[in-house]
Structure formats: C-alpha cells, structure tokens
C-alpha cells in the first residue's frame, strides 16, 4: 500500500476528530470537554491544509486556518470563563452536577 502524505493526513484528521468526539461523549470534566473541542478543531485545521494542498491553493487554505484558529480561541476562552463561573457556583467542574435543567 502506497502511504502518501494525503493518506497520513486523512488518518490524522479522522483520528483527531474521533478522539475529540469520544472525549465529548465520555469525559465529565468541564476543562477536558473544552480540550476535546480543541482537539476536534485541530483535526479540522489539518483538513483545511490538506484541502489546500490537494487543490494547490495553500494561500486560501492557510488564511482560512488562521481565521479558524482565532475564532476557535475565542470560543475556548468563553467556554473557560463559563467553566470558572460554574466552578464558583457549584464548587465542581463536573457535567453531572449540571443536570438541573431537564425534562
């Protein structure tokens, strides 16, 4: 089997996304959930770069990747800020403590 860069990159993308989604399903800690989101976004960044390489348009791909990094960082910051507030109110960083809104 011919192991080329696109195949490796593709596997990396799927791997990162898989880890991220699995973590979102299994992890209860708020900080870890933010990290899981970050892992998924990193996979997407690789996907952008791979797409740019396949299409021979690295300039667009890289500029998009940069914007995604910025946007994603903002989301992470907001998420962590929320986590801090939640910690202040519940004393815990656990999603299972956040199930008052149900049914």
């Amino acid at each position: 089997m011919n192991i080329s860069i696109p195949v490796i990159a593709g596997l990396v993308i799927l791997g990162l996304l898989g880890i991220g989604l699995y973590a979102l399903l299994a992890v209860r800690n708020l900080i870890k959930i933010i990290i899981a989101l970050q892992i998924m976004v990193k996979g997407v960044l690789v996907a952008f770069i791979l797409a740019g390489r396949l299409q021979g348009d690295m300039v667009t791909a890289q500029s998009m990747a940069l914007v995604v990094i910025v946007a994603d960082t903002i989301v992470a910051v907001v998420g962590l800020a929320l986590a801090v507030q939640i910690r202040r109110h519940t004393g815990k960083l656990d999603t299972t403590a956040l199930t008052t809104l149900r049914r």
Partner: protein, 582 residues
C-alpha cells in the same frame, strides 16, 4: 348595494365585538346595549340581503397565488344561513342581557359571540375555499372560547378544548379537500367546480368528498364524532342556543348541502351521508331518552335532528334538509332559551330536581311546549312540515329500511320530548328554592321565536324560491310555492309517521304499564348513557398521547454527554442515509 350589505353582515358583528371588548368590563350596562344593538343591526343587514340574492360574485379581493381571490357570493343558501345566524344570534344576545346579568368578563363574552356570528356569515357567504376553511376554524375558535367561558370550572375548560380538538381533527378533512381543489384546479373558487365536478379526477374527487364528510360530521357532532357535544353543555345556555341553533352545527349541514351537486356521483358518498345521518339520528335519540340533564337532552336532540338533515342530504333532498334546518333553528333556539330561563331560575340542570315549574313560569311553559311539539313533529307546527319532507325524501330515494329506522327515531323523539316537558313543568315540585319568572329581555327573545315556530312553515314557498335555480343553478331545487309542499306532505306516509309519533307519546303516557319493556331496554339505556363506548375511545386516545408525551420527556436528561450523543447519532444517521439512500 348587495356588496355593501354583504360586507356589513360580516363587518357589523366583528366591529361590534371589538367595541364591546374595548369598552371594558367596568361599563356592563353599556356592554349589554352595544352588543344588542350590533347584533340587531347585523340581523337587519342579513334580512335586507334576501332580495339581493343571486349567484353572482359581489365582492372580489384578489390576493394572489395560494390565497386566491377572496370572493363572496350572496346566493340563496348563503343568504338563508346568514339570516339564521344573525337573527337567531341576535335573539340569543338579547336573551343574554338577563341571563348574563352580573357575570364577570362580559366584554370577552359578547366579543366572542359577535365574532362567532360574523364568522358564520362569512363562512356561508364566501366562495373561496381558503376562506371557507378560514371561517370554519374561526367558528371552532369561538365555540371553544365560549364553551369554556367559565374558565375556573375544569369541566367547562375540558369541554371547550374537547370541542376544539375534535372539530379540528375533522377540519383536517376539509383542509385536505380545500388543498386538493387548489392543487388540481389551480383556483380557490368552488362555484366553478360545483358547476363542473369533472374538473377533478375521480380519485381526488373521492378523497375530497369523504374529507368534507369527515369535517362536516365532526362539526355537526355526527357519528362517530358526537362525543364533544354533550360536554359542550357546560357553556352558558345562550351559547348553547347559539351553537346548536344558529351557527356552529349548521356549518356541517351547510357544507354537505353546498357540495352535494359535486359529490353526488362519487361512489358510496350519498350512502355514507345517509348512514351517518341515520345512525346519528337513532343513537342520539336513545341517548336523549336516558339523560337526566335538561341541556343534554336538548343537545342530543340537536344531534338527532341534524342526523335527519344529513339523512335528507344523503337521500338527495337538499330542500328538505335545509327546510328542516330552518325550522329546527327556530324551535331549538326556543327550546334552549326556554331551558336557559328554567336553569337560570332553578339553578340546576338536573331534571330530577325540577318538576311542577309550570305554575311559577307560565310563559316559559307555554313556549317550551310549543317548541317541544314542533320538535316532536306534531302538526301544524313548523317541525311537522320539515320533518315530513325529510321522511318523504328518504322514502323516495333511500332504501325502505332506513326510512323505517328514521320513523322509529321520530317515535323516540316524541317520547323523549314529552318526558322532558313532563319532568320539568309537571309532576311534583322537587325544589323548595324560590323560583323566579323569566326576565323581560328573556321574554323579548322567547316570544318571537314561539311565534315563528307556529308560522315559519308558511314561508316554505318563498324559501323554495330563495334556493331556486336562479341563485343555486347546480342544486336543481324546483319548489316554488307553499301548495307544493303541502301537497307533498299530505299523503299516506305522513299518516304512518303521525301514528308512530302518537305511539311515542302513548309510550310516555303508559310508561307505568310498560315496565317489562323498559327493563328489557335497560342495557341499551346503560350503553347510551356511556355514549355507546365512543367516550371510552376518546379517553383512550387522550391518555395514550399523554403517556407517550410523558415517556418521551425522559429523553431530555440534561446531561451534556447524552446531548452530544444525540449529535453523533444524528450525524451517523444522516451519513448512512446519504451513503445508502443517495
């Protein structure tokens, strides 16, 4: 002129309703007066519309594609039902002045009553299918609001919501038919379609015809949708009169009569209408016989009489059905308002706690008996002529056994009517409360109705002309004089019918000697009191839906990981659909 009058009949009640509501509940006297004034004005406009009836479109507001042209036609059928809605409606409003004296939230009450009357006029006068559905749903909305007028009473709320939901479920049939009409013919105007039903392919026509039948049956509380009507008796009594005599339940009969020329060749349709009418007429009559609630007796008798109208339509007797509708609206309004006067003074609806009221309320007794005789079909009151017309139509065009069933129904009608009159006005007084006579506004409403019950049949000829070929070209109603009606009614079958009715009367007279028979029928009576099991079906459906809803709530766990699982599951399903289904 016709344009102005037509718009006025719809607009006057609506504007009046808005004004009454805006006046506010602090000025009750003013509210009563405004409501009566606008109701009477609407009645006047409705009556003034009679000479202008024709099959021409008199109002046309083009709105564009899916909404079609908002068209209104003042043809005979429409004008007739408008007059019934506005005139009987205004009498119910006058009656309310006494009945609702001292009640809270009068603004809402009168606004909804007037809105109701206007919507009913709109329903029968428009020729745009969307507007038919539009007004149809407004009448459902108003009936719901009025039935559950006493919102603090859970039974009233349940009754209102039940009426709303059942008529809406039936309304889906009307919706489907209306949508089909537009989708196939590309026009919302139904007159062209009635003139030429071949516009619709047979397959769609069948769906449309039965969809309309479902809608009409639900609206007119026909089998198997009759269960909402007895619960609707929680409404204030003038509302019952309005719903049962002037507006709501007539809508179903109107729909069937209006579209009869288009649907009569659909295989099985006329038979279905005939059977729905027959089953309802008999079943409701039996239920009326065993009920002890005065208003429920009248409600079941309404259902039963509407069954006669459906039966007549199924047998092709459009004139007979509409003539019966005409008579029925008058005498049933009279009966309901009379019952309202009784209930208002006694304070209960249970007939077992009444009795001997005739002495205290002589006028109410007199008019109630007139109404009862008309309901039973005793000559020469209006109910006699129209019911005989219905039976003649059945004998001429329907299987003989259905005619016999309807005759039995007529006998039971006489029986329960006399039972009801007896229990209320004669016999031993059971209540030691002080009973006061009907108020002046009540009498003002009752006397014209009693007079009309005695005489309205004299209008049979002009009524026939109103529905004649000039205004309803597709219906082929050829009766143009009173003589024709009298000639048709005075025949051998009428004698048989009268004998059956007399037997019904006799059965009440000799009720003591017929104990064996009544014991034998006890099981039937028990089943009838339970609405022949349909109530249980309703409850089952409601309960099933509610427990499904309750069970589904468990899926909202509130746990984030579970929520993420939803996203991933969704992604997997969509990917699978794209891969395997694309």
């Amino acid at each position: 002129m016709a344009t102005t009058l037509l718009l006025l009949t719809i607009a006057i009640p609506w504007v009046g309703g808005l004004i009454v509501w805006l006046v506010g509940n602090k000025h009750t006297g003013l509210q009563h007066r405004i409501a009566v004034a606008f109701a009477l004005l609407a009645g006047g406009a409705g009556v003034a519309l009679i000479p202008y009836s024709s099959s021409q479109i008199v109002v046309n507001l083009p709105l564009g594609s899916v909404f079609g042209n908002f068209t209104f036609v003042a043809d005979g059928l429409g004008v007739f039902l408008t007059v019934v809605a506005t005139v009987i409606g205004s009498l119910a409003v006058i009656f309310s002045v006494d009945y609702m004296q001292g009640e809270d939230q009068l603004g809402r009450y009168y606004a909804m009553v007037l809105f109701f009357i206007g919507a009913m006029s709109g329903l029968v006068l428009t020729s745009n299918m969307l507007l038919v559905f539009f007004f149809w749903e407004i009448t459902a909305l108003c009936s719901y609001a009025l039935i559950s007028f006493h919102n603090d009473d859970p039974k009233a709320v349940a009754g209102g919501i039940k009426a709303l939901i059942i008529t809406q479920i039936g309304g889906v049939g009307l919706l489907a038919g209306a949508l089909l009409l537009y989708a196939v013919t590309g026009s919302m105007d139904f007159n062209a379609f009635i003139a030429n039903p071949a516009l619709m392919p047979a397959k769609w026509l069948g769906i449309m015809a039965f969809g309309f039948l479902i809608a009409a049956a639900a609206k007119s509380a026909q089998f198997p949708f009759q269960t909402w009507l007895p619960d609707a008796m929680e409404a204030p009594t003038p509302i019952s009169a309005l719903i049962h005599a002037a507006t709501m339940v007539n809508a179903g009969v109107y729909l069937m009569a209006r579209f009869y020329p288009a649907f009569k060749d659909v295989p099985g349709w006329t038979t279905a209408v005939l059977l729905v009418g027959m089953i309802t007429a008999l079943m409701a009559a039996v239920m009326a016989l065993v009920s002890n609630d005065l208003k429920r007796v009248l409600a079941y008798s309404t259902v039963s009489q509407l069954g006669y109208m459906f039966y007549a339509i199924g047998a092709g007797g459009i004139y007979a059905s509409q003539f019966h509708l005409f008579s029925h609206s008058i005498f049933k309004a009279l009966l309901f308002l009379g019952a309202g006067a009784v209930i208002h003074s006694v304070g209960t609806r249970d007939m077992r706690q009444m009795g001997g009221l005739g002495k205290q309320m002589p006028l109410v007794r007199a008019v109630f008996i007139i109404g009862g005789l008309a309901l039973a079909g005793i000559p020469i009151l209006n109910g006699f002529w129209s019911k005989e017309m219905v039976l003649e139509a059945g004998l001429a065009n329907a299987p003989v056994w259905t005619y016999i069933v309807m005759l039995i129904g007529a006998g039971i009608t006489a029986l329960y009517t006399f039972r009801c009159v007896w229990m209320v006005f004669y016999g031993e007084p059971h209540s030691d409360q002080h009973v006061h006579d009907a108020g002046p506004a009540m009498k003002v409403a009752l006397i014209p109705l009693a007079f009309a019950t005695l005489t309205s049949w004299l209008l049979a000829g002009s009524f026939g002309k109103l529905l004649g070929p000039e205004t309803l070209p597709a219906h082929g109603i050829e009766i143009s004089s009173l003589g024709e009606v009298i000639h048709e009614v005075l025949s051998l079958p009428t004698l048989i019918a009268l004998i059956v009715i007399a037997l019904g009367l006799a059965a009440w007279w000799w009720r003591g000697r017929l104990t064996g028979l009544s014991n034998a029928l006890k099981g039937v009576g028990q089943a009838a009191a339970d609405s022949f099991g349909f109530e249980a079906i309703n409850r089952g459906i409601v309960k099933g839906t509610q427990s499904a809803a309750e069970a589904l709530r468990a899926t909202q766990t509130g746990l984030l990981n579970w929520n993420i699982f939803g996203i991933i599951a969704g992604l997997i399903i969509v990917l699978a659909v794209v891969i395997f289904g694309g």
